[in-house]
Symmetry: C2
Subunit: 356 residues, 2 copies
């Protein structure tokens, strides 16, 4: 007999995304930033490597909190650092979702929220999005009311669109918390600045950010939550005591101080994104207007799997995604390609390789 | 109304151990290793800092698993790397403890297991230890039978004693899993080598290790589980996908390859531990025979709080610990001092400062 909780046994095993270890690939499949991290990060890490690694890190990540708060115009007690925003989302789930509570999230969207609900062993419900990725509050209103915790990635993945403040406020559950996962927020034309935390519903909102994408630091695993200090105090009880190591804290602090570097790279990615979208449309693809570092594209032929495989044969990886049970999709199955915005040279290779 | 689960609201807030940030302290309170990490770790980190930080790490930590497995004489699929053994213990709790299950652990012992059970929202029970830190299986047998998951630190904290294989096998719950937390295992005179994983109860046992203590790497947060591959496959579903960052993986791999460095430092600590115990006994303290990098001491006067404060006034930090509801202790309250084995020079300062 398996010793695992039945929920765990019923889950399918973790399948890592394609991460070829040998060189020669153009990786446009996991939304990594193609540009390197700030040179200040490398300096900070080199110094930290010479430090007292035998001692525990600061359990609260005070220096990072001070730096992040200064950038955001908040007090440091609004910040909770985490081992990637994955860990922050796990902590939020464990903090708010009790045995009889329900978690909800948009669909099609980031599939991790469903996994988190399954791991927590709680009920979960999808909030179906419209074909143009907008909300129909007549459809989702009741589920919102019944939920304790709602995860909303804004901008959304795989679509790349971003929702406006009014929509987001309508997503706050009357008796629960709304988590705005802003992993891709810095790539928007006009990034949000946690404005909703100052709204009347502000105490029911948590914003999460990551340094993986806009700060080019997927390798160091660093994310953070931004919320009212009362919420942060509670979340601290749930996280592991020393959840961020000295090196990640040093790297993250250096990265967030160097806002210019991040802004330069996100600006370059916005430019390339525009060019990529125009070119794909010229080739007959449908492209959602993206506020992220990826684009969601479909082709009238529906041959997304074939396109993915053709590209892979040429050592270019994009993400072929399939979402079942989508009422408005052909055969109730939405599929398409999510393509990360790489460097201009990488995108040129992609466009050359795309024989469509 | 609080949005937190009631279990979280009822928990007291996290109180970080005393980690003075300014210099001049002798820190003998959190069982850090006083010796630096292997020079190979610093080299590996310096190289990794120059690497592709913009890309995600290997989600399975393959290189570390290969290195650890070679050291232990196991196959790499017996290893699960984690963000400190804290994360590994959290993953184990979430994997095995369902809503109606019970977690048990010795008492007095490491208080984290109780916190993990509270966070998971499941029943928990203490397995009371005898005054000489041995087991009375007549007393604890029924609780063991009723438990799904049992955590046992071996060697134990705060006492520092280690239990024999026969005792450990008697702790395997008939319908559940035994976790042997070997955080301090490398400091034993004759360290265990996961022998019990090959016993008939082997599939019901998970061993956890950390690089924080014997490898002098508390700052990088790295631990791992060792268990049958069927168990590891299940645990992988529960951990965050990218739970270990590229730097921690590089440091951990370099550290575990350099076994000589670790053995040198643990040997030094064993020598100092012996000297410390002898000297404390000469001063009238009762000292438990320790197999760890700390000693548990009590004084007939019972003035442990005062001793702790006297030392603190001299900038020497030790840990004053109080365990309530201990049937055999005076007023049912066991208190004493847990003193980390520092360098010889640090221990000399401690002994000079101890006016008892």
């Amino acid at each position: 007999m398996s010793p695992f909780r039945p929920e765990i046994d019923h889950m399918s095993g973790y399948r890592p995304g394609e991460q070829p270890q040998e060189g020669g690939w153009i990786k446009l499949n996991t939304n990594e930033n193609p540009y390197p991290a700030s040179p200040r990060v490398v300096e900070a890490l080199t110094a930290a490597a010479q430090g007292k690694l035998n001692l525990y890190p600061d359990p609260l990540g005070t220096e990072f909190c001070l730096a992040a708060a200064a950038t955001l115009g908040l007090d440091p007690d609004w910040i909770l650092p985490g081992n990637g925003s994955d860990e922050v989302l796990t902590v939020l789930t464990r903090s708010f979702a009790g045995a009889t509570d329900q978690i909800a999230y948009p669909y099609p969207s980031y599939i991790l929220y469903e996994t988190l609900a399954n791991l927590q062993g709680v009920r979960h419900a999808r909030l179906p999005l419209e074909p143009d990725w907008s909300w129909n509050f007549d459809t989702v209103g009741k589920t919102i009311e019944q939920s304790k915790l709602i995860f909303v990635p804004n901008p959304n993945s795989p679509s790349g669109n971003r929702w406006a403040f009014d929509d987001l406020l309508a997503l706050v559950p009357p008796h629960g918390m709304l988590v705005l996962d802003e992993a891709y927020g810095d790539f928007a034309d006009h990034p949000h600045r946690c404005e909703l935390l100052n709204s009347t519903a502000g105490k029911q909102i948590v914003v999460t950010r990551t340094l993986s994408k806009s700060y080019s630091l997927a390798g160091i695993r660093f994310g953070f939550a931004i919320a009212h200090p009362d919420t942060i105090v509670g979340l601290r009880k749930v996280k592991d005591s020393y959840n961020c190591d000295v090196l990640a804290l040093a790297a993250a602090t250096a990265a967030i101080v160097d806002q210019d570097w991040m802004h330069q790279n996100t600006a370059r990615i916005r430019q390339t994104r525009h060019r990529l979208a125009v070119q794909l449309k010229q080739r007959g693809f449908t492209v959602v207007d993206s506020q992220t570092n990826f684009v969601w594209v479909t082709h009238p032929s529906g041959q997304h799997r074939t396109i993915y495989e053709d590209l892979k044969a040429k050592k270019i990886l994009v993400r072929h995604m399939v979402f079942e049970e989508v009422s408005w999709a052909k055969d109730h199955c939405l599929d398409g390609l999510r393509i990360t915005v790489g460097t201009d040279a990488e995108i040129d290779c992609l466009l050359d390789a795309l024989n469509w």
